[in-house]
């Protein structure tokens, strides 16, 4: 068995003129536990072999043994930079399986928090990418805004990172009143911070030198590699599920899809910055819609799917039975299989659920957006320098929790 060979690479192996260098699993530029074995000729990379799986926790196997609502907490741990979007994507898939329409207010709140999460995710991606390349300041300016987003999440869900905000059929609670003033303030401050970021980077000649032409990809190649999300749009393909296959009423919002031309690190940066501005537009519209709609239910009024309110459980026999049945036996699921996908910050996040009618799914599959993107890493960095590989890795926005599941 070839087990020790890969470990032996860790020290240093010389193969002709090639030097083998390990990047990761605890390299500061890998942001998570990735390992890349680089073969170098002088300063140039001749081959990069990514080794993944350091964060493989068997999420899909666990899902086969948990009830549908219990799995929501595991989706937090996929892309932990924008966990609320995973919650939204997963419950959307279960609702498709149940053929369930959720209340209007829940839809708008889901859109609102998803766009906040997209913003936070892009902030992390751009900020960290800039830090890796050597521009530390942009990171600090943006992280103030990210902090506000997490404050908003804390108000909404009680947690900053592992939100578990959604439930099958809606949300587990409504937004509190003090959410709205802070959201309004955020809408005023965030565009200024994005302007500052652009002022620091967009016309910065050093930033141009480091990012332009690195990791360029043709649209055909990108589709062949299974790219989705900002990385695909940077290659010039205007594919965004929010527009092309609208879910949660995204067709009622007014926003644009930014596209790049070459797909290099610089284009991906520009696409992400513009997407942040577009997300702010959507957040503005969602807040207005919420105000217009006024208070209302945030979860379906079907006690075979969603738990009845606690007061009813304590005072009415029927609700108590519903509560008991739901907790002990789970939701009554139809037999069938669905694939449902949402546009997460990294690309298409899909959930494929096979149900045999039992309490837990027979098979649950998470289609992570960054696995196909990362698989092209070897092809993209060949012939580049290690410093370019770091820039490329950051712009791919690899989140190990989602990559390894």
């Amino acid at each position: 068995m070839a087990t020790m060979e890969s470990i032996a690479l860790a020290t240093q192996a010389l193969d002709g003129d090639k030097m083998i260098v390990n990047m990761g699993p605890t390299h500061p530029a890998t942001h998570g536990t990735l390992r890349i074995v680089l073969e170098l000729e002088g300063e140039f990379i001749t081959r990069a072999t990514p080794e993944i799986g350091y964060l493989h926790r068997g999420v899909e196997k666990l899902g086969e043994n948990l009830s549908y609502n219990q799995f929501v907490t595991l989706t937090d741990r996929l892309n932990y930079c924008s966990s609320i979007m995973n919650n939204v994507g997963y419950t959307g898939a279960v609702e498709k399986l149940l053929d369930l329409e959720i209340p209007e207010r829940a839809k708008i709140i889901r859109v609102l928090v998803s766009e906040l999460a997209r913003l936070a995710d892009h902030v992390v991606c751009i900020g960290i990418n800039a830090v890796d390349i050597g521009a530390f300041t942009a990171f600090l300016y943006l992280f103030k805004q990210r902090e506000t987003v997490y404050d908003l999440f804390e108000m909404a869900a009680g947690q900053r990172l592992h939100t578990s905000f959604t439930r099958v059929g809606g949300l587990f609670r409504d937004l509190p009143d003090d959410f709205f003033p802070l959201a309004e303030r955020f809408l005023e401050e965030c565009p200024l911070a994005i302007d500052e970021l652009e002022g620091l980077l967009t016309r910065n000649p050093i930033w141009h030198d480091r990012t332009k032409g690195i990791g360029a990809l043709s649209p055909e190649e990108a589709i062949s590699w299974g790219y989705t999300g900002p990385c695909l749009r940077a290659c010039g393909v205007p594919q965004d599920l929010r527009k092309s296959q609208p879910y949660l009423g995204y067709d009622q919002y007014d926003f644009d899809i930014p596209v790049g031309t070459t797909g290099d690190v610089f284009d991906r940066y520009l696409v992400r910055v513009e997407e942040m501005r577009q997300s702010l537009r959507i957040i503005r519209q969602a807040l207005d819609k919420l105000r217009e709609l006024g208070p209302g239910p945030i979860i379906v009024d079907d006690y075979k799917v969603a738990l009845p309110p606690k007061e009813k459980v304590y005072s009415r026999m029927e609700s108590l039975i519903h509560h008991f049945k739901l907790i002990m036996h789970g939701i009554e699921m139809p037999v069938g299989e669905v694939y449902s996908s949402t546009e997460a910050a990294n690309g298409e996040l899909g959930f494929y659920i096979v149900s045999d009618g039992g309490k837990s799914p027979y098979r649950i599959r998470v289609r992570p957006p960054c696995l196909p993107i990362f698989s092209s890493f070897d092809q993209k960095v060949r012939g580049l320098l290690i410093a370019d590989a770091v820039a490329e890795l950051g712009a791919m926005n690899i989140i190990a929790g989602e990559l390894d599941r």
Binding site: M1, A2, T3, M4, S6, I52, G53, H56, G58, E60, K61, L62, N65, K96, L97, D99, E221, I223, S224, W225, G226, T228, V237, Q239, S244, Q245, G336, E337, V338, Y339, S341, E348, G350, Y352, V354, Y362, R363, R365, R367, L371, P372, S375, S376, Q379, D404, R405
Partner: protein, 174 residues
């Protein structure tokens, strides 16, 4: 699309159904590559996902057919999705989409097929690098098979491991 496949390759589709708007066709293993070629030319160019489902007891005809290998395709022009399933028994293999002899249309299949091989133990014919993706190379068993225990069987999944430190790790629960 499905009519066109049936017209061109009669008998290739052995089963089909639609549920909640998701169209699924089951394709015979022998005609899989031909069908993929046809749907690619028809615009299904983005291979979204490859995965598998394990049905340990399932019998079709008089044969145990344990696995469904499930492919999801997206047509980026019409935004239609198509799910293709290939049914294989234990020990049988599936044609790989990254066979060096084929045109390089679905490079993304490389890692997805390795993942299916890793977690289900379904080999892909002519895959250039058919090694495990997520677990380590001498991991005992295939984690997503239904007969693989949830806790991994032994605490560190180190049975039969050739790693030098494996002998110090107990292989059964005390």
């Amino acid at each position: 699309m499905i009519e066109r496949i049936e017209e061109q390759f009669p008998g290739a589709i052995t089963d089909r159904h639609a549920f909640r708007g998701d169209v699924t066709i089951v394709v015979a293993r022998e005609s899989f590559l031909e069908v993929v070629d046809l749907i690619f030319k028809d615009g299904y160019q983005l291979l979204v996902d490859i995965t598998a489902v394990d049905w340990p007891e399932r019998q079709i005809g008089d044969r145990l057919v344990r696995f469904d290998v499930v492919y999801h395709w997206l047509n980026m022009t019409s935004q239609e999705r198509l799910r293709i399933k290939v049914r294989v028994g234990a020990g049988e293999s599936v044609p790989s989409l990254v066979d060096p002899a084929l045109p390089p249309r679905f490079k993304t299949a490389n890692w997805f097929e390795r993942e299916v091989f890793d977690l289900f133990g379904i080999p892909f014919e002519n895959h250039p690098n058919m090694v495990r993706l997520l677990t380590w190379q001498d991991f005992p068993g295939h984690a997503l098979r239904k007969d693989f225990p949830l806790d991994g069987g032994d605490p560190f999944c180190m049975a039969d491991s050739t790693a030098p430190y494996a002998q110090f790790i107990p292989t059964t629960n005390p």
